[in-house]
Structure formats: structure tokens, C-alpha cells
Symmetry: C2
Subunit: 395 residues, 2 copies
């Protein structure tokens, strides 16, 4: 018999996917260049040439069995060393290869982090607005994801509600900064308060509450914005990183788990990741991709277009009367809709070929997300449609 | 708190890994060319040039975001179509892309197959001798792996013992043909009898017993050997394939699940795989590797060296008085040890720098495995050591 829980999931439609399908279909009618598709968080800036060159260089010069051979289960040793050295230099924490587990993107890294610290029935808390895939990612491990309602003033943490929900059943807290969908980076003050509370409650409950920090947008931080290193604030932090956005290679599934060197069990935890992967069938990210990213660890794609797009959109949105927290990074912005029902708002926007995603999907009804990882030229052209939509519908 | 089951696994030492570590250490003493290391099943023949050329071609000519972008969760559509077309042509079953789910190697494919058809507590049966990773692969999903004792005459299936163990709790049967470690391919007679029994018991118990067919060695079949397509015998077959051995790219983690087109729920099952992967954090094999293998589906590395090595070893082993079933494929041979305790036998062989793996690891005590995916020249040089070992120890 087929397993019912997975069968049941098939009927659940993803709002983002439906919107993206609408955009594609509409694009076939009127030309995709005329559809202002803000639905998908797909990196749009070219992959760094150094990554491509490194791939070609290895394919040309290295012995094929060595290049494409099995990776050790924790990742290729030299790659782990290079990642640790880069993190140490960057963040000043004493990372060594023993703290690094190479994983298949942030999704793979999170799958390991959740299994490290939760048994079925344990709770993981996250904060709205949040990446909706966290639901299945957590719940399919047997743990239970609970979502703390948003602080809509700042999209920092709503500590009042958080403290209420931080019971003895919570084994981990999952954060994502800079954040998808709000674009906001948690401040040092937020992280300090969060860390203090986790230390206090860990002591009170007699078990460590781990902080799982999902950081795929770490390299997309805008000028003048403070986006401090989460691990610097809390010893028991499990950092989950992906190169998808920094190098524009989301399809190549490469990232890592970096357990804070100050975490008492760091090395054991990394070794445990190698056991967890036997059950998930993951067994290391691709060897050639591991080797290639290790050569370009301190480089990124040219990410400046995201800031350019953000500034254009933010200015226009404010000018049109939207309430909107200014993003500190990522390629998302999360304004308040102009009517209470953000789904209705987004539906009406489709008449202007504006594809926006209602905040309900992210646990924050009444707001909407725009993913501005598209050409600046298109962002500029979309402003007229946005203005017409607002003026004809809400004035 | 860290999850105890994974922590406990850290103390379990892999016999194969220990032997391989011995070989490496001994190699540093006397030169690795003098260690006859038959421990690891690591492909040794070069990657086909066509695969490398295709990778370089794409890296050079294709737009980087298209090349390295997200794959749909079931795999890249054109890749699934190409795999289906290749399977249809090869095996005469009506495969379509709807039957194909791209996975991270056979390990990834199996992780999905197990989760498709078992709930925690359900049983999966496999046959000794068997690949020891099946233990954690299955048991970490919550299902329970049970091992049917071997038919040591032929290393086909011991049907008497199988039938006893095929109770109503068994939801799937897992086979691996051609087999690691025996090298034996299941005959048409074996597969027919297996299929008949599964149909009979499925009807009796009122639920489908799925056949999960792990086929990483499908392309390594020796001349004159019959290695029939498993799916042709049983409609409810889930084929799990890996390109690791056929293309010598085990580190690139690429394979697929192919659900038999005649299986009633085939398309649903493939769609369910896309849901399962959200929980395992797997989320598609790397895009560039998917695209590259799709171009060389009907090619393999030059696998002939494995047959050459097998013939040399088999002749020598028989001449030395070993009882040994002649392999039909793979790069393994599984002779009977010259004393009851194969672990003692293998330990003594180390004095001759022969690294052999005791059959206990594979659920068949009293036998030992030789992985002859090494240079023919080295196989030939090892014969003298093998003869000295046997004559000085057992004559």
C-alpha cells in the first residue's frame, strides 16, 4: 500500500507554483517580457566566471576517477578545510573541518539539522513571515513546526508571543536572516535578546535548545545594513548554508552544515550528520561541485542588481502609499496589501500582469511578497502597471 | 539533546572501512602498489570521454542561469523523457517521463522507494548475501529490514526460507541483481518464481507487495550471461538505478527511480517521490549532472576490464581449490573461505598483503568478497601472494 501522508500531499497546491504557472501561461499569450513576474525566488544574475572556469579546468586536467569519485560521507576533506578557513577568517570563530558537513543545499543541511536535535513529536519554533517549505521539511521528519506570529512593525522577532510558545517541548528554534520573504536582517539587539532567552530557557528546562540558522541569503546584504553573524551570539547554533544564491547555482545543490565551534558537542554532531545521511539517501553533494565551490568560497556573483531593484521598488511603493519595511538584504520585499485580504489584492493585481504572492503563504496574512530577482529594466517597466493597478483599484 | 540513535551509530565500525584503512596504512609502509587491496567497490575505469566533453560543452556554451538553475522536483523534464525513451527501447516496456524520478544515486532512489511503500514497523525483506548499507538505509526510515539466509549453492534465492519469512507484515522485497557481493545475476527462472510468489502472497494478504530492484550493476554483465530485466517479470516493480558504476561517476550522485509502467499507481508514485524529497532534504540531483548523463544514456565506460579480472581470479581460485560461484556480472566475487571463520581467514590473508572482506558483513558467514575493480596488472601480481597464502596456511 502506498503511504497515505505523501499521497495526501499531492492534492495540496502551492500558491507560488500556481502563480508562476499563471505567469508562464500569460507570457505565452502576451510575451513573457510583458508579464511582471515577481513570484519566484530564482537567482537571475550570472554565475561567476571563476566557478565555470574552475569546472572546465578540472574536467580538462584532472584524472576522471579522482574527479568524479566518491566523496567521504562528511564531504571532501580539503573542501571542509577550505570552508572552515573561510568562515574563521570571516567571522572570527575557530572553525575547523571537524565543524563542517557538506550538504545538498540548504534543504539538505536543514534535513540534517532537524534530525540531529529532534525526536518525533518534539517542537521546532520558527517566526512568521517564514519560508513555507519549512512546514514539510520539519513535519516529515516527525517533529512539529510551530510558527510564532510576526512583529509586523519591524519583522524582527515578536518576543512576547515567542516566550509564550517557548515551552519545554521546543528542542530547536529555526531562524532565517536575512529573511525570505520580508528581506529584513535580524539586528544585533534581536539576536542578543534571542540568545539570552534561549540560554535562560535551556537552563530552566534542563536541555539545550538549539538555534538552527538558515542562511542562504547571507551574502545578499545591502549597503549600510547590519546583518551580524548569528553564531557569534549563541554557542549552540547550527548554521545551514547554501551557495544557491551567492553563486547563482541553485540547481547544483551545494551547501553545508557548520556547527558552532563553541558548541560542546560540535564534532559529534558533524559525525552524526554522516549517519543521518545514510537514512535520507543523501550521501554527499556531488564531488565536482564540492571541489568547484571550494575554489571560489570568497567570491559571489555580482549581486548588486538586487539592491538596485530594491531601491527602485521601495521608493515607488512608499510613494504609492504602501506600508513597507525596507529590506536589508535578499531579493524580496514584503509590503502591506491595500486591502485586508492579500489574496484578493494579489488576484486583482493579475489583471495588470503583476504577479505578487499573498503573505498568507508565509504565515503573515495581509502582506504580499515581491521577488525582485529579475532584470532592472523589467522592474522599471513594471512601475507603470503597479501605479495603474493601485490608482484604478484603490483610489 | 542530541538524538541517541544517530549518536549510537558512531561507535559501530564498518569492517570494510577498517580494512580499507589498513590497506592505506600498509600502502604507506610498503608502497600501495604492493598492497592487494580487494576491499572497496570503487569504479576504476575512466569516465567516458563523451560525458566529460558534454560537461565542458555545456559549461562553455550554455547560459549559466539556465544551466545551473533549479531542477523541477521530479527531475528536468527533458532528462526524464530521455531516460524513459532509453528504457523503453532497451526493455520493451512503455516507459514515459511520468514513470521516472531523478534521484541522487541508488541511495537516493532507494530512500524514496522505501518511503513510498512502508510505514514505520513494516518489514522489507532482502536476500543474503546483501549490501550491508541496506540495514541503515531501511531501518532509519522506521521500517525493518529482515534478511533471508543465502542459498550458498548458487546465490540465487533460497525460496524455502523466503516463503517462511514472507508474512503479512512484509510490504516490499528488495533485490540486487547482478549482486554485490556475490557477482551473481538472478536467472529468469528465479525472477519468475519470485514474481509468482509475490503475486500469490499479495492476493492472500490483500495488499501489494512491491519489488524494489536495486540495479547499479545492470550494465556490468559478462559474456554469455543472462541477466533479465526484473520489471518485465513483475508489474509492481520499483527500479532503482545509479550511473555510478556504468559511467564511473559515483561521486556525482546521479540515478533514478523508474516505476514499472504496468504498475497501477505508477504516476502517483512518481509524484509522491517529489513529496518525499521535501522531507529528506534531497530536492533533486544536480542540474548539470542530470543534463550530462541524459546525453550519454546508452553509453558506458569501458567495463571490459572487470570481466578480464574476473576470469583471471576465478580460474586461479578454482585451481587453488576454492568453492566459488562464477560471477555473471559486477566487479565482485564471493568464494568460500578455507576455514569456517571467514574473519580469521581474512585476518590471516593480511599477512600476505591481501585485503579481503569477510562474508559476515554481507549476511553470509564463511565466505569472503573480493572487489576486483583494480588494474589487471595488479590482479595478476596478486596471484602469487594468494597462492603463497593458501599453500602456507591451509596445506
Amino acid at each position: 500500500m502506498l503511504v497515505q501522508k505523501y499521497k495526501d500531499m499531492l492534492s495540496g497546491k502551492s500558491v507560488i507554483r500556481e502563480l508562476s504557472e499563471f505567469a508562464t501561461a500569460r507570457g505565452q499569450e502576451i510575451g513573457y517580457e510583458n508579464v511582471f513576474d515577481y513570484s519566484l525566488g530564482n537567482p537571475s544574475v550570472p554565475v561567476p566566471q571563476a566557478f565555470t572556469d574552475e569546472m572546465i579546468h578540472m574536467l580538462t586536467d584532472r584524472e576522471s576517477n579522482a574527479l568524479h569519485g566518491y566523496s567521504p560521507s562528511l564531504g571532501i576533506t580539503g573542501v571542509r578545510e577550505a570552508v572552515a578557513a573561510s568562515l574563521e577568517k570571516r567571522f572570527g570563530l575557530p572553525y575547523r573541518k571537524e565543524h563542517i558537513f557538506m550538504a545538498s543545499g540548504a534543504a539538505g543541511a536543514l534535513a540534517h539539522a532537524f534530525r540531529l536535535v529532534t525526536e518525533p513529536g518534539d517542537e521546532i519554533l520558527t517566526f512568521a513571515p517564514y519560508f513555507p517549505e519549512y512546514g514539510p521539511y520539519v513535519n516529515l521528519t516527525g517533529a512539529v513546526l510551530k510558527v510564532v506570529p510576526p512583529d509586523t512593525e519591524s519583522f524582527q522577532i515578536h518576543f512576547g508571543k515567542f516566550e509564550e510558545m517557548l515551552t519545554g517541548k521546543v528542542m530547536a528554534v529555526l531562524i532565517n536572516t536575512p529573511n525570505n520573504p520580508s528581506g529584513v536582517a535580524y539586528s544585533a539587539a534581536t539576536l542578543r535578546k534571542l540568545a539570552d532567552l534561549l540560554r535562560e530557557k535551556s537552563a530552566e528546562y534542563g536541555h539545550t535548545i538549539y538555534l538552527i540558522s538558515d542562511e542562504p541569503y547571507r551574502e545578499i546584504v545591502f549597503s549600510g545594513v547590519e546583518a551580524p553573524c548569528v553564531s557569534a551570539f549563541y554557542d549552540d547554533t547550527i548554521m545551514c548554508y547554501s551557495f544557491s544564491k551567492s553563486l547563482s547555482i541553485p540547481g547544483e545543490r551545494i551547501g553545508y552544515v557548520a556547527v558552532n565551534p563553541r558548541c560542546r558537542d560540535a564534532e559529534t554532531m558533524v559525525n552524526m550528520c554522516g549517519q543521518i545521511s545514510r537514512g535520507t539517501g543523501h550521501n554527499c553533494p556531488p564531488s565536482i561541485i564540492q571541489l568547484a565551490v571550494a575554489k571560489v568560497l570568497d567570491q559571489t556573483a555580482d549581486l548588486s542588481v538586487y539592491e538596485t531593484n530594491m531601491e527602485i521598488l521601495y521608493r515607488e511603493l512608499v510613494d504609492l502609499g504602501f506600508t513597507c519595511v525596507k529590506p536589508g538584504g535578499t531579493f524580496y520585499i514584503f509590503p502591506k496589501a491595500l486591502e485586508e485580504d492579500a489574496r484578493a489584492f494579489c488576484r486583482k493585481a493579475l489583471d495588470y500582469d503583476l504577479v505578487l504572492v499573498p503573505g498568507d503563504t508565509f504565515g503573515a496574512p495581509g502582506y504580499f511578497r515581491m521577488a525582485y530577482c529579475i532584470a532592472t529594466e523589467k522592474v522599471e517597466r513594471s512601475l507603470k502597471a503597479l501605479r495603474r493597478f493601485v490608482e484604478e483599484t484603490y483610489r
